[in-house]
């Protein structure tokens, strides 16, 4: 899907999410929306993208002529490598993850809840393609941000009071970025930090099953 064809909702999420990735960070991008993020990073981005199939320092998607059959990211896309990249086996790749060397991980979600619980790997009876790297990334990244449309394709909330699907990991999410809001998981509950410029706080709460906390001062738009 080329950048120009992406729906407005997706565009908004990705544009906002790109701001979370800072210079010097080691970042893992989960399959789905997060995989599209490199397109939104500055050309000279000074950080390292980790792909759990064994690459640190992933570059942009490799076009025909540059692509090598031996070099993909964990989503299956042919990629280029940046100077200073390293390739290693799967045990080392996940050592890096479990050891806490991933500064930031961005993952998709089926459901996320008030406690920061995440469900993104299984819909019983419907979808169970396996676990992949999701559990280790969710549990061990220093900072975990969920990227998701605010509601599912049927308009139902994905931000719940309590996750109903099998969990990927409990209490792992730090921030949720949707097309409608930027929401932090805090000990007090879900704190809205930013709101999309085309939505009211009332609508946002209506699209959210979990009770949202709004700050006393005015909400930043995005």
């Amino acid at each position: 899907m080329s950048k120009t064809e992406r729906p407005v909702r997706t565009e908004r999420i990705l544009r906002r999410a790109a701001k979370e990735i800072q210079s010097g960070m080691i970042v893992n991008l989960g399959i789905g929306l997060p995989t599209l993020l490199p397109d939104y990073l500055p050309e000279n981005f000074a950080g390292l993208i980790h792909s759990e199939n064994g690459v640190l320092g992933c570059g942009s998607v490799a076009k025909r002529g540059q692509a090598r059959p031996s070099l993909i990211d964990s989503a299956g896309h042919y990629i280029s490598l940046k100077p200073g990249s390293s390739c290693f086996d799967s045990a080392v790749s996940f050592a890096m993850i479990r050891r806490g060397r991933i500064d930031l991980c961005l993952l998709g979600a089926f459901e996320v809840d008030t406690c920061g619980n995440l469900a993104n790997w299984k819909i019983p009876g419907k979808l169970s393609p396996g676990i992949g790297g999701a559990m280790e990334l969710a549990q061990k990244a220093k900072r975990l941000i969920v990227l998701s449309t605010h509601t599912d394709k049927n308009g139902r909330p994905k931000i719940l009071e309590h996750c109903r699907l099998p969990l990927t990991a409990p209490a792992c999410v730090n921030r949720i970025i949707t097309d409608e809001a930027v929401i932090d998981v805090t000990p007090e509950g879900l704190l809205v930090q930013e709101i999309a410029d085309n939505i009211s706080t009332q609508d946002l709460q209506n699209h959210t099953e979990a009770k949202l906390i709004f700050p006393e001062n005015s909400l930043r738009k995005f």
Binding site: N53, V55, A67, P69, I72, D73, S93, S128, P129
Partner: protein, 240 residues
Amino acid sequence: MNKQRELSETIALIPSGATIMVGGFGSPGTPFTLLDELLRQGQDRLTLIKNDANEPGYGIAKLLEADRVDTLIASHIGLNRDAVQRLNSGKLKVEFHPQGILAEKIRAAGAGIFGFLSDIGIETEITDPSQIIEWQVDKSGAKRKLKVETALHADFALIHAARADHFGNLLYTDSAINFNPLMAMAAENVFAETFDLQPPGTFPPEHIHTSCAFVSAVIAVDRKRALHSEYELMEHYVED
């Protein structure tokens, strides 16, 4: 010391019912030539251990499609719709592990240890209470609940190496390293294919990823004569 062997007689050492580790994350590092010979020879009731199920028409997917596989031990098979259908219809038994735990269970067998203690997935449905121990793992004096993950063994490993020497020293490249060096350490019998087989002494000793101590046989594959489009770029992933 020369471990170069012929393809068909090497794969013929694998009996039906064997447990086989297969290198590769998606296509990179998948030993397509060894797998095709296994398909041709007809061994069945196999247990395969691979990160994924390849994509339909590629690698182990062809063994699944030919009903040769009873059980697959994997991390994620989402890119193979046919394998998911086989799982859902009960035709195929799949045992899922978190990807890094799968890697570490294989490495544990390779390291001659019997298992390890982990906290991954401990509060999710993949963990049964019978797998939990409480153990004092630091000097705090407090015990911690941890999951015992046991080593994962196999009779055979099928490996794809970018380069090799006749002793069986192996080198990998790019993201085609993945599970290959772990499986090469773990399995009883390790068969490696390579496009680039060189005399011993060609590679600096510290560049060798898998020491020949772990390798049983090396099969030279002529890249030019290999008919496998599987080794080429997968068109549906190539961006113009």
